[in-house]
Symmetry: C2
C-alpha cells in the first residue's frame, strides 16, 4: 500500500501520516490475472477500485453480443461501475484485466465511512470526479462532432501512452467504429505521410 496510490492522492490534497494510516485501513488489495473479470454485467458492483499496476477495461455488451468499450484504466486510475456501486443496482458494465493487474478496492460502506471520517477525501474525490467529467465531456463532444479519423487522431494525441498497450479492436470499439474502419484509417494516415 504504496507509492502509486498516495502519490496520486497527494497530487490533489494534503494528508497527515495519521490520515494516511487511517485511509489504508479501508482498502483491500487484489491481484487479477490477464482476462480475469473484476465485474460482470448483472452483478452488483461492490467496489470502487484503484489501479496500482496493470490495465483494465470496462465495457458493455449490446443485444447483438457486441462489446462497446466504456473506459480503460491503467496505473493511477480508478475504475468501477459507478452507478451500480453507488445505487446498488445491477451493473451494466463488465470489467476485466487486459494485463495482469493489482488493485486497491473499497466498498461503498467503507467509502462513506472514510469520507465522513476524513473529509479531505470528499475534496479529493470532488476534484477527481470534476476532472473525469471534463474528460467525458470532451469525448462526448468528439463523438458528436468529429469523423472516425478525427476521433482516432484525437485519441492518439491525447493518450499516446495507453494506446500502445491496447489492441486495435478495443480502440476501435472505444471510439465507436468498426475494427475494419480503424484499420483502413491507419492505412490512410500512414500513406499520407
Amino acid at each position: 500500500m504504496d507509492t502509486v496510490f498516495f502519490s496520486h492522492i497527494l497530487a490533489k490534497v494534503s494528508l497527515s501520516e495519521e490520515e494516511k494510516n487511517s485511509i489504508k485501513t479501508f482498502f483491500v488489495s487484489k491481484k487479477l490475472r490477464k482476462r480475469q473479470y473484476l465485474l460482470q454485467e448483472g452483478d452488483i458492483c461492490k467496489y470502487l477500485s484503484f489501479v496500482e499496476k496493470g490495465l483494465l477495461r470496462s465495457y458493455n455488451i449490446d443485444e447483438k453480443g457486441e462489446e462497446h468499450m466504456n473506459m480503460f484504466a491503467c496505473e493511477g486510475w480508478w475504475i468501477s461501475d459507478m452507478n451500480s456501486f453507488l445505487s446498488g443496482e445491477k451493473a451494466v458494465f463488465n470489467i476485466d484485466a487486459i494485463e495482469e493487474s493489482e488493485l486497491l478496492m473499497i466498498t461503498l460502506e467503507d467509502f462513506e465511512e472514510m469520507t465522513l471520517k476524513i473529509p479531505v477525501m470528499d475534496r479529493y474525490f470532488r476534484i477527481l470526479f470534476q476532472n473525469s467529467l471534463v474528460t467525458k465531456e470532451r469525448r462526448l463532444v468528439s463523438s458528436n462532432t468529429h469523423t472516425a479519423e478525427e476521433k482516432y487522431i484525437e485519441l492518439m494525441e491525447s493518450n499516446p501512452a495507453i494506446i500502445q498497450r491496447i489492441p486495435q479492436n478495443l480502440i476501435a470499439s472505444y471510439i465507436g467504429i468498426a475494427p475494419e474502419t480503424l484499420s483502413r484509417i491507419k492505412k490512410n494516415i500512414a500513406s499520407r505521410k
Copy 2:
C-alpha cells in the same frame, strides 16, 4: 436566494443556518433574457452557475459552423464550461438562454474559498459530480451502442419533462443526428402506434 437553491443542496447534505448564510455570500445573481449569452467560445468561463429559473444550453460549434448541443440545464441544474472554469483556459462551449432565466453564480476563487471554509460543500459537489459522471457515462454508452431512434426513445423516457421545452432541432443536435432524421424518426414512431 432561495428555495430552489438550498432545497437542491439540502437534498444531498445538511447545512446549519450559519453555513447557509455564509454560502449565500459567495454567490451573485443574474438574469438572462431569452437568447442572451452567458458565455461565448474563446472567452474564459468565470463562473459556475446554478439555474434558479429558466432553461439554458451549452454547445460547441464545429469548423462548418454547425452547433452541437452539449447539455441543457433547467431549474436545479448547474452549468459552466467546467474545463475553462477550473483551468482558466479558453472556453470551447457557448452557453445561452433558451428561456428567460435566473442564475446564481460563483467565481473559481470564491468556489475554492467556500469549499475550504465549508468542507461539506466539497461533499455536495463530490456527490453532484459523481451523479453527473453516471449520466454522462450513460449518454456515451448510448451514443456508441444505439441507433438514432433508440437514442431518441431513451432520451424521451429518461427526460420527458425537459424535452418538451426544447426545440426539436436542438434535441436532434443533442443526440448527434440531423434534424431531418429526427423528424422522420418521430413520424415512424407515430405511425407504428
